[in-house]
């Protein structure tokens, strides 16, 4: 059985329907890319999974448990972390305090400390700046902090919303390397990206979204070579 199963999901903002009956699944260990133009509904799907927006109908099942009726603050504890669009780090708090908040639902101090060391090893830059106020970090450092903060909950599934947004090409490559290594470490990844080319290179499978509907899905490799995808999303 899939780790995450989404079935016939409908989501509205008031009277506007943003998601129009979407179904897809994510298997354990996969990297799944969700690509689509601005306003296609990618962020809305992630927000519905982590409970920031309520679904009108349809179901989201994570490891056999129904998420659609679970309050947002319980979902992290079930094993889903979310790196939100625009990072949304706590800009008045320090790097260290942000990371501690990532482990908010965990109890064991020693294990939290161990996770902190793991995050610092992955992002040495965060360690150097652990007492710096997060709002003063550079864009790339903020993105690393947002990812590090999500990892502090030790998720089984991590949702990432446009982690490469606004970063220089070198940093974009760095972020994609990080995503790859998170996946290799055993965490399942659901990745939303505008940078379809990069996303498809590291993904196992992908879904293409257009105005609230999935219009195409398949192996990432096949999609890279698909003529319509090339035209619409890869700019070739």
């Amino acid at each position: 059985m899939a780790m995450l199963t989404i079935n016939d999901l409908h989501v509205y903002y008031g009277v506007i329907q943003a998601i129009k009956g979407i179904s897809f699944e994510v298997n354990e260990g996969e990297v799944i890319a969700l690509i689509g133009a601005n306003g296609a509904g990618k962020t809305t799907i992630l927000h519905t999974i982590t409970g920031l927006i309520a679904a009108r109908s349809g179901s989201i099942i994570f490891q056999g448990q129904k998420l659609t009726k679970t309050p947002a603050h319980r979902i992290v504890k079930m094993g889903i972390a979310h790196v939100p669009e625009g990072r949304r780090i706590f800009s008045h708090l320090t790097v260290y305090e942000n990371l501690q908040l990532g482990a908010y639902t965990r109890g064991d101090k020693a294990e939290i400390e161990a996770s902190l060391e793991t995050v610092y090893r992955r992002f040495p830059r965060l360690k150097e700046r652990k007492n710096q106020v997060a709002g003063t970090l550079s864009g790339g450092e903020q993105q690393m902090l947002a990812i590090g903060r999500a990892l502090m909950s030790r998720p089984k599934l991590i949702l990432m919303d446009e982690p490469s947004m606004g970063l220089s090409p070198i940093l974009v490559s760095e972020i994609f390397d990080i995503i790859k290594s998170i996946s290799e470490g055993g965490t399942t990844v659901l990745l939303v990206e505008q940078n379809a080319k990069k996303a498809l290179t590291i993904a196992d499978r992908a879904y293409v979204l257009e105005t609230g509907k999935i219009v195409l899905s398949g192996n990432a490799q096949d999609l890279i070579n698909d003529e319509s995808v090339k035209k619409a999303y890869l700019g070739e």
Partner: protein, 295 residues
């Protein structure tokens, strides 16, 4: 000179109590993003509980003080649950009007139960005078200062160092992101109300011990001045509430004793004049933060 120092001491006393109440305003504003206009009235309720517990029921003073703080905390919890929680997604204006409604409700309940007459409170904290640089300072003043400083440091440490305090800061900055961390935002807001109301309870004890009387409107003017103190210091800032409270208290005491006779009745208003000047010069208040979020 003697009179000047006495005036300063008066101002600091008054200002300390303002500061404690301003803290409640600032915490609730910072975290729930609402102006709880009923906050000042909790002082009035607290002072009446002192009247009831000590004068009418003759409960021992330490126990009565604990009960007073507990009652205020409970009142904050109930008000939040019944009046504000159902409005979590309403417009700020509806919440503000509800808060004004709660304020009138509390005042009218006090009128109904205790009548319009001013109630006198027995001198329930009675300590000798201290000699401070040749000036005799009443014991109660020293108690007010020490309590205020201890609470201020305690609260600051609590918010900076504990998990719950950190959760409050997270909620205050971004409720959605706080939820993504696993923070129960609703519960955090309720706890903030309880803490703010308990602080108002402490303020009501100090107020009662110093001024020895209460009427149903005690909290209203007092609350507005404490609110002015919170805005003066920069609403949302804890050290700001402290400094704002002290300044408003000092301004009030100094204008009341040094303005010419026909003007000193306006000492209540003078603090607001200073507030307005302050807001023109620095709209975020003395220690108010500008938003530094990067997008």
């Amino acid at each position: 000179m003697q009179q000047f120092i006495m005036t300063l001491i008066d101002g600091i006393n008054l200002g300390s109590v303002y500061a404690l109440v301003a803290l409640g305003y600032t915490m609730v504003y910072g975290i729930a993003k609402m102006l709880n206009f009923a906050h000042g009235d909790i002082i009035m309720v607290g002072a009446y509980t002192i009247v009831v517990f000590i004068t009418r029921l003759s409960i021992s003073v330490p126990l009565a003080m604990i009960l007073c703080v507990a009652f205020c905390a409970l009142l904050g919890f109930v008000v939040e649950k019944l009046a504000y929680k159902p409005l979590r997604h309403a417009t700020p204006l509806s919440v503000l009007i509800t808060a004004i409604g709660v304020s009138y409700l509390l005042q009218n309940l006090a009128l109904l139960i205790f009548g319009t007459n001013r109630q006198f409170i027995v001198r329930f904290i009675d300590v000798g005078n201290f000699n401070l640089f040749g000036v005799s300072v009443s014991g109660i003043s020293v108690i007010i200062w020490v309590t205020t400083i201890v609470i201020m440091i305690g609260l600051y440490t609590f918010i900076k160092k504990t998990k719950l305090g950190r959760a409050m800061l997270a909620v205050s900055e971004d409720k959605g992101a706080a939820q993504l961390m696993g923070i129960n935002v609703n519960r955090t807001i309720s706890i903030t109300f309880v803490i703010g109301s308990a602080l108002a309870g402490v303020a009501s004890i100090l107020y009662s011990a110093k001024y020895l009387n209460v009427d149903p409107y005690t909290g209203s003017l007092f609350g507005i001045k404490a609110f002015a103190a919170a805005v003066f210091g920069g609403i949302g800032s804890i050290p700001g509430a402290m400094i704002g409270g002290l300044l408003i208290g000092l301004i009030e005491a100094l204008t009341a004793s040094y303005l010419p006779f026909n003007l000193n009745a306006a000492s209540d208003g003078f603090a607001f004049v200073i507030l307005i000047i302050m807001l023109v010069l620095k709209p975020t208040g003395l220690l108010g933060k500008k938003n530094t979020e990067k997008v």
